[in-house]
Amino acid sequence: MSLGDILDESDAREVKRRARGAGPSREDRLRRLLRPEPVFWGLFSAGGFVAAFLVPIHVAILGIALAAGWLPSRALSYERVQHLVHLPLVKLYLWGLIALPLYHWAHRFRFAIYHQFGILRWKRFIAVACYGTSIAGTAISAWVLLRI
């Protein structure tokens, strides 16, 4: 079962009729078990939380304060950053800071394509591309943080 199969029903407008007689097929049971919406919604809202409470200050520090020279020179020195990124708690924090907003983006962008731009073709491709990007970002950030 591919990611596309799992995502297909996640924006369904109607509930499908169950087949009479025989119970749900193995495929159906697996699909129900892997229902993606609660998981992706959880990640989406966690990403929204991170994006609102944590991302602005990081953007301000890395993007503006550094270039403006408002930071003490020690703050982003190689030694200090090396020390920080080796702390397990900082690794976990950075992983969440990078990965969770990606799920926030994936959900919003997926439905912006459907609803705003009215593109209803290639639904499966768009869903897989959006969530696939976030899953890839999650994996790459985990890999970098573990390898550092």
């Binding site: 200050i57 990081h58 520090i61 962008f109 731009f117």
Partner: protein, 135 residues
């Protein structure tokens, strides 16, 4: 109206012009909010580049810091900051509308909920800045 395969009844699929989100102020603000989520993801990408630079040693890292100081890059970050702040402010506003907070029998006014969220944000930012810069 269209009938999906295997459905007992036709599903109503509303039709609207592609530019519906440009029509009124609230629609435009909603669309702007959706679009600003892209800048949130852009920052995730930039943070990933930062980590790549850290993992590739001192020279790569210091090169990356020089890149961060280029005026064009600072301009990009400024746009990201504005977008992220818009995303944050609208999220606080919509949270206050969705989540009714009760204290005993009284409903906490929306403005107080929004102020509380902003206060939490300031506190979180101060804590992050402290650990990021001075700790």
């Amino acid at each position: 109206m269209s009938k999906r395969e295997g459905a007992r009844y036709p599903a109503y699929v509303p039709e609207y012009p592609r530019s519906w989100w440009l029509q009124t102020g609230p629609y435009r603000r909603f669309a702007a909010r959706e679009i600003t989520s892209m800048f949130v993801a852009a920052f995730s990408g930039l943070l990933l580049l930062f980590l790549f630079a850290v993992s590739r040693g001192r020279e790569a890292y210091e090169g990356f810091l020089r890149w961060l100081k280029l005026p064009a890059v600072v301009a990009v970050f400024a746009v990201i900051l504005v977008a992220v702040l818009y995303h944050m402010a609208t999220w606080f506003r919509l949270t206050a509308h969705i989540q009714v907070v009760r204290l005993g029998r009284k409903v906490v006014p929306k403005s107080v909920v929004i102020a509380g969220l902003f206060g939490t944000w300031v506190l979180a930012s101060v804590i992050v800045a402290y650990f990021h810069i001075w700790f």
